[in-house]
């Protein structure tokens, strides 16, 4: 899933300084799971803003709603017309959701309420770790299900760098060295041969942005 973190309250309040009618739009998919921009977090931010403006003696309208998926047009149709009534819409979705919102709401101003961080997984409640860089050339089959492109700070392909120490990364001693993990897992699997041949330089063309794809069935539409 996409992991995001909510922007600090003061930053959001500063961004909203010149607006009178504010709408906060959440997304109930990835950013809800990582507790950054789902229905609950939208409610918290709206309450924080209302209380803060009340203390400031300012009359600002704060309304809120959350759609199932802000990155999908189908889920956005019910809300778009209503958003035209507002000076600004704060998107609590990831950058993709916020951009679809901006496209659909034009010319209404859109502001991001979260910082989108990474594609990750949840090893335990409240913890998220990055596990995929969307490189477009998946090698998990060779590397024992551990991604060197993501888990190695340098994204290197042929074994640990000289900075690794006791299985930890040179960048952060709290983090594991991806290549030590890969080596140890493949050793357990009896598949070390997978990584004994040098991997060629990666194909970065697959990552040329903005990437796009069309399902076979929809080609030609």
């Amino acid at each position: 899933m996409i992991v995001a973190e909510r922007k600090p309250f003061e930053e959001i309040k500063d961004m909203l300084a010149s607006f009178k009618k504010v709408f906060i739009l959440g997304c109930d998919t990835c950013v809800a799971v990582c507790m950054a921009g789902g229905k609950k977090e939208v409610g918290v931010l709206a309450s924080q803003l209302r209380m803060s403006y009340k203390q400031d003696g300012k009359d600002i309208t704060i309304d809120e709603d959350t759609v199932e998926r802000q990155c999908n047009k189908e889920y956005m149709e019910r809300i778009i017309e209503k958003l035209q009534e507002y000076d600004v819409v704060v998107s609590m979705a990831c950058g993709a959701g916020a951009q679809l919102l901006a496209d659909l709401c034009e010319p209404t101003q859109i502001l991001p309420g979260v910082n989108t961080r990474f594609i990750g997984m949840t090893p335990k409640d409240g913890h998220w770790v990055e596990r995929c860089r969307a490189c477009g050339n998946c090698v998990l089959g060779e590397t024992g299900g551990i991604c060197p492109v993501t888990v190695c700070a340098k994204g290197i392909m042929n074994g640990p760098c000289g900075g690794t120490d006791h299985g930890k990364c040179e960048v952060d001693k709290e983090k594991d060295c991806a290549w030590t993990l890969i080596y140890q897992r493949l050793d357990k699997m009896g598949k070390l041969d997978n990584i004994k041949q040098a991997f060629p330089p990666r194909n970065h063309a697959a990552q040329t942005n903005p990437a796009s794809q069309v399902h076979e069935v929809y080609k030609g539409e």
Binding site: P160, G167, A198, P200
Partner: protein
Amino acid sequence: MAVSFKNALKSGEFVITAEVGPPKGTDIEEMKQHIELLKDKVHGINMTDNQSSVMRLSSLVGCHIIKEMGGEPILQMTGRDRNRMALQSDLISAAVLGIENVLCLTGDHITMGDHKDAKPVHDLESVQILQAMKCLEAGKDLGGNALKGTPKFCAGAVVTPEADPIEPQLMKFEKKVKAGAEFFQTQAVYDLDNFKRFMDYAGKFDTKILAGIVLLVSAGMAKFMNKNVAGIFVPENLVSEMDSVSKADQLKKGVEIAGRMIRKLKEEKICHGVHIMAIGKEGVVPDILKEAGL
């Protein structure tokens, strides 16, 4: 020295290399003094490549100056700051300038240095830079395009004999040998019994191993490296030996220890040579060599 680094490696004589760091800025006087001091005493001088992720004069220009001064340069190339286009371009540029010795490294991470916000590249890592050199030598670039004039290199790489765990490191060492590394300069070694065990393994491969000798300048430095530097282990007896003399005499003691180690490595034919890193104290390298009887 009259004989080239590559020929020295081939000849089977005990090979000595040392390291010079280029300056941050345009004042190259101190660097030139270090080159002058070393050029006739060692078989090759490594010029570091934005060492420790700190921006400096380029390794390529540093090597060119070594060459101009009559020394034998070893170009260090990391994959941190340049993609495959820039690396290949620098490699053929080096060849044009008569620089043939290249040490390939992955490079410290950008966050370890003085431009922490910069974009790390890592398009190629050490094994792939070695492969790129082989490719260029065969007359093609990594895009498969023919070159007009082909370079000739003497390719090298690094290995950490004290790495823990060692197995992933050795797997990578073998990949480097296969990718064409003709020589290795190791991370610092202090425990020669451990190093002998490493050489029992590494000596089986068709490549030359130069043991990394990092000059101890103080007991504090030894303790600091044990705690903070990956793959470096200074045994307790050496730390105590450094501590046994006054602070003012510790550099002299460090020179003595380095010299003693080099002498033993040579006399007992443990490896093919040494790579001396006297970081910030390049001036004492001749003293180390004297102490080693070289």
